[in-house]
């Protein structure tokens, strides 16, 4: 049997191709659970402007599929999540293979080049750069590459707060307040990923990982926050209406007895994600 090893050029080629393909699919085809939520929102919406906005979004989703073009011109930064089977190790070459897949996708999808130096603001032109895009590794049954393209409009209004442990009943208020401050800027209707616990950095990572979860169901805790955000009446694009938030997803981790980190990652309606398996 042919054995794969870190320096295997064939395997690296498959990693690169899988990355490029996951990026392309994520940019053009919105996941079915997100489309269903939008459709439900359209039927339940009572505000006529909001209804028109959701109709425009649904028509845009259809046209993206038909034209095989990215859903939005902000093609985002491709946040990469990789699961590795227990018998496969991660290597420098594999990371380079992921980067080469992103560069390829920049041309074939096509993507807008979005990655710049943080201070120089010089664009690298290919959506990769110093430690970019971010790669998150975990162990899984199969070798998979998941891409979550994250646009700036919604990322920029995300928030993190180191709360006091005694303030656990104020978590919900913090999430709703984050959306109040955001208003129409993140292109609502939004999906809110909430990370509770961990450390300062882990809470933010959890909030983003929560955006990878299916949104066809919510826990009662998530539903309660979602209803309160919708009560703000911000509506699609901040033009008013019943539909501000399509779903809230929460992920938790243990934390220090003296801390309560809470992070809210705001995601626009174009909640893009796609997974491609790498055949080992």
């Amino acid at each position: 049997m042919f054995m794969s090893f870190p320096g295997d050029p064939e395997l690296n080629k498959r990693i690169s191709d899988a990355t490029s393909e996951a990026v392309r699919i994520s940019e053009i085809y919105l996941p079915q659970d997100v489309k269903s939520r939008l459709k439900n929102a359209y039927f339940n919406e009572k505000n006529s402007v909001a209804k028109q906005e959701i109709a425009n979004i649904m028509e845009n989703i259809r046209l993206a599929e038909e034209r095989k073009a990215p859903l939005c011109q902000d093609t985002g930064i491709p946040v990469v999540y990789i699961t590795l089977p227990p018998d496969i190790g991660w290597s420098h070459d594999m990371r380079e293979a992921v980067y080469s897949g992103v560069r390829k996708a920049t041309i074939v999808t096509p993507l807008r080049p979005n990655v710049v130096g943080p201070i120089s603001r010089e664009n690298t032109g290919d959506n990769t750069g110093h430690d970019m895009p971010p790669i998150h590794l975990s162990v899984g049954e199969k070798f998979t590459i998941t891409i979550l393209p994250k646009g700036a409009g919604s990322e920029n209004v995300s928030a993190i707060k180191m709360m006091n442990p005694s303030e656990k009943d104020l978590i919900q208020r913090f999430v709703v307040e984050t959306m109040l401050k955001a208003g129409g800027r993140p292109c609502p209707p939004v999906i809110l990923g909430v990370g509770i616990g961990g450390t300062f950095d882990i809470s933010a990572a959890l909030a983003k990982e929560a955006l990878l979860m299916q949104i066809d169901s919510m826990t009662s805790y998530e539903q309660e926050i979602c209803d309160k955000v919708n009560a703000l009446g911000i509506g699609p694009m901040g033009l008013g209406g019943d539909t501000t938030c399509l779903a809230v997803k929460v992920k938790t981790a243990g934390c220090h007895t003296a801390s309560l980190p809470v992070a809210v990652n705001v995601q626009c309606w174009a909640s893009r994600r796609a997974t491609v398996e790498v055949i080992v």
Binding site: L180, L232, M237
Partner: protein
């Protein structure tokens, strides 16, 4: 629903914030850099009744691939002179400042297009020409012909402002939720 065409005339005086319309005819894209260039060198197209679209499209082989709206608030300080020159419509997303709302009074409207709907926009557009190509794809002024683009009147000519109204409502709703 009203169907408007460029160049815009006094028919826009009857529009009310919150009204859904469609717009057809020629529009010009402009972001920050293009506004600054026009301020320095003058507007390169006839501004009378014209419409400016806050947008940085993706163009490939003289075709519009995607062309969604960008955040209009970045142009808050750069809008007065184009209105003085005769521009009567602005298209963008996210709303504009109270200052712009005052500058619009009696002469021009701000129209919201759905954020992220870059394909819907492109499907209703034809590329006609370009000014300032040297500014790069996103910042150049692209002359585009629209075919019934669906828009919402967000600021009218009488000071009506849908974004401000919604923001006020949201603040009150938050106070009711968490007194």
């Amino acid at each position: 629903m009203k169907h408007l065409s460029t160049p815009l005339g006094d028919e826009i005086l009857d529009l009310k914030a919150g009204e859904c319309i469609t717009l057809s005819g020629t529009v010009y894209t402009a972001r920050d850099e293009a506004h600054i260039r026009m301020m320095e060198e003058g507007i390169p197209f006839d501004p009378k009744g014209a419409v400016v679209y806050h947008c940085g499209p993706v163009i490939q082989n003289n075709e519009i691939v995607v062309a969604g709206p960008t955040t209009s608030a970045r142009m808050n300080q750069l809008t007065g002179f184009i209105l003085d020159a005769g521009i009567r419509g602005l298209i963008g997303k996210g709303g504009m400042s109270a200052g712009v709302r005052d500058q619009l009074k009696g002469r021009a409207v701000y129209l919201a297009f759905t954020g992220g709907c870059a394909n819907l926009a492109a499907a209703r557009m034809k590329l006609e020409g370009v000014y300032y190509p040297g500014l790069g794809m996103a910042e150049a002024v692209w002359q585009i012909r629209l075919d019934k683009l669906p828009l919402t009147v967000a600021m009218d000519t009488k000071g009506g402002d849908l974004f401000a109204k919604v923001e006020e409502y949201a603040k009150k709703a938050f106070r009711d939720l968490y007194p």
